[in-house]
């Protein structure tokens, strides 16, 4: 999936917007529990700075997924503050599979349209 993101390029692209949920789910599936800031930094690191998840979009997405039962939250006291960790639920894992399949299909179709020769 990370390769796909690099291929799409353009850091501020609208293309990423619809994939934010997929990115979060996939990251949590691979890394286990993570906190919001960690997610933004991990994405930046994986995409070598190409993709910056906006804070204003990240938390609403996390809260939406939590309400939908795709994520669970735990809280820990770290230093002098409380940190909230998100983890993926079994329902979230199912959702990840579906979303990745959709993304694959989308990318395959885009390839066919953009570069028809490759599809033969």
């Amino acid at each position: 999936m990370y390769i796909y993101i690099r291929t799409l390029g353009m850091s501020t692209s609208q293309l990423y917007r619809g994939s934010l949920t997929t990115i979060i789910l996939k990251l949590l599936e691979e890394n286990g529990e993570m906190y919001g800031y960690e997610i933004t930094q991990r994405v930046k690191e994986l995409t070598q700075g190409d993709l910056n998840i906006k804070e204003g979009a990240l938390y609403p997405s996390l809260h939406k997924m939590e309400a939908a039962g795709h994520l669970t939250v735990t809280a820990k006291k770290v230093d002098n503050r409380v940190r909230k960790y998100y983890d993926i639920t079994p329902a979230g894992k199912e959702e990840t599979v579906n979303r990745l399949a959709e993304l694959d299909e989308f990318l395959a179709n885009m390839q066919r349209i953009i570069n028809p020769k490759l599809s033969f």
């Binding site: 930094q41 804070e55 809280a75």
Partner: protein
Amino acid sequence: MKLNDSQIEDLYVFTRKHYVEYYDVQIELVDHLALAIEDQWKVKPQLPFEDALQIEFKKFGVFGFTEMVEQRQKAMARKYSKLIWKHLKEYFKLPKILLLLALTMVIYGFISTQIIGTIVLTIIITAVIIGIAVDGYRKRIKRYKLEKEGKKKWLFEEMIFQYGTGMTVFLFPIQFLSLINSGGTDISSRGSVFIAVLSFIVVLMLMVGYIISFEITRKAQIYLEQTYPEYKLVN
């Protein structure tokens, strides 16, 4: 370099100033801002706290924290609706379903005894609703006082004690009956199936009112601890 306690408190004040009144949202924002500021200090240790904070705040875009608060409210409203459904579904299982059926029969009895029965029923329901409203108002005043004394404000808690989307749900049975009556025809003259369905709907509406105002508020502490893993850590 790490943020000290006073700077953490400044971050809480900052979020409140930017219209984030709920503590559950503040907690997450404060940790995020603190981490981001600490990361900035790794590169520029001389950067003043205030400047670093402004840089991070700008990253939230022109609407600041508003979008985050709105989405949080939507997510919590969804969770609250699910909770009501969970409680309501219990009334479709034995033995609670017997209560549902018994109440339906009582209301059926009222409605089928001419228009006077419907009027009596409307008066009874109105009295019950006024009672619930007064009780709710008292609870709200009590909570308001606690908040003034510095009690933290949690979004889901407020939703539970403000009866979700408001008191309108209690008015549904009344509106429903008056709407049926407004046609000028006596409801009791309609078929018995019609009256039975009508009675059942009125009972369901009353049950939702009861669940919202009594059942959920009684279990508020449990639901808050389930919703907020941080609730126990800070209370």
